[in-house]
Symmetry: C2
Subunit: 214 residues, 2 copies
């Protein structure tokens, strides 16, 4: 069981797991640096990522209500995180509900994000889905960047494929196209948004109807 003295930063390396399904958790991690993913694995072996956590986020905020992990949590980059024991959140809840309130607010944001991911996966084309997801991450990254400058976002084309539910090969082709339209740049293991507004347009409307140019 963790206590306050444990509330110091812990380090995780890229591709290291922070939790597994059925784990009984005794703390919640607040991400200080690095990116995390939450995913499920299907019978077929395929992976579907259902959430991304960025610095400032409480990872799996619902653990304060039901402390059972249901999915895999993995570090997409080297990560630093501080653990807050559930016990202490619960105790504070009565007297200083600040922390509990913040965590619950995160929970609601997460629900909203999942909802819009459902909409994207259910009803949008490849370009639109990919654009929508990259844009959402861009906006979140911009919100926490000290100067609003977002640098390369540490996502493999395989990671992106597992978020938007398409083939990495197809992700590659879409990215190539978006790169050609000067919307973003692609590095090995990362994507950099160069024109957020164009990206926002594509995420909502796709390419112009009856046209190939943006």
């Amino acid at each position: 069981m963790l206590d306050i003295s444990d509330a110091t930063a812990r380090a995780f390396s890229r591709r290291q797991h922070l939790a597994f399904p059925a784990d009984r958790m005794e703390y919640i991690l607040r991400v200080e640096a690095g990116w995390l993913a939450r995913y499920t694995r299907l019978a077929s072996g395929q992976r579907q990522i259902t959430a991304i956590y960025l610095p400032g986020d409480y990872c799996e905020p619902h653990w304060i209500i039901d402390p059972t992990s249901t999915e895999w949590i993995v570090a997409l980059t080297p990560v630093k995180a501080t653990a807050v024991s559930l016990e202490s959140v619960m105790q504070d809840a009565g007297t200083y509900p600040e922390l509990a309130r913040k965590i619950l607010a995160d929970l609601v944001r997460m629900l909203a994000r999942q909802s819009s991911l459902v909409v994207a996966l259910g009803r949008k084309s490849g370009v639109e889905r990919l654009s929508a997801v990259i844009l959402e991450l861009y906006d979140r990254a911009a919100a926490i960047a000290p100067d609003g400058e977002v640098d390369a976002m540490p996502l493999t084309q395989g990671d992106l494929a597992d978020i938007v539910g398409i083939t990495p090969i197809h992700v590659n082709r879409i990215l190539k196209d978006l790169r050609g339209r000067q919307v973003l740049e692609v590095q090995r293991g990362a994507v950099t948004v160069t024109d957020p507004e164009k990206l926002r347009f594509v995420a909502i409307n796709g390419y112009f109807p009856h046209s190939d140019a943006i």
Copy 2:
């Protein structure tokens, strides 16, 4: 503003809306009878349903944390629901946290369901998605049925299409096929599961690999 005296059943007719995006809510509805859907509409006019509420569910439980409606809530059937004022939940929270705890538990369940919907939409084929969604609803309906007997589930083929993110035409073809395999029966505006275990198999594995028969 609602008070306790308002906590009596209200009636809504089929296709009537209970909330709209940006509405500021002052209460949460507990569904007593009937089915509800929560949905988003895209720029293209398409609809994507992101949640279904059944009797016993608290509709939009996250309103107790942020009382702003973000999507449309519509009755899929005639509905009876009782309103609980957020004010009273908040007041009770300190002294009798029972109600708040129940609502938060519902919120966590909802998050889990959305997560598995993301997985279905992202990584499963038409049959698998449709089977998974129908099965989930079947299981929920069975859990609240007094004798475990689930009757026809009130979903239009168009509704199903808007949950699983495929065309109503394609839903029709898949249902025809599942009907042929004796998994379920189809009525106008409703679906009846006749072989839940077969359905469960298809939801997880699809049809047998390298085979057309189940």
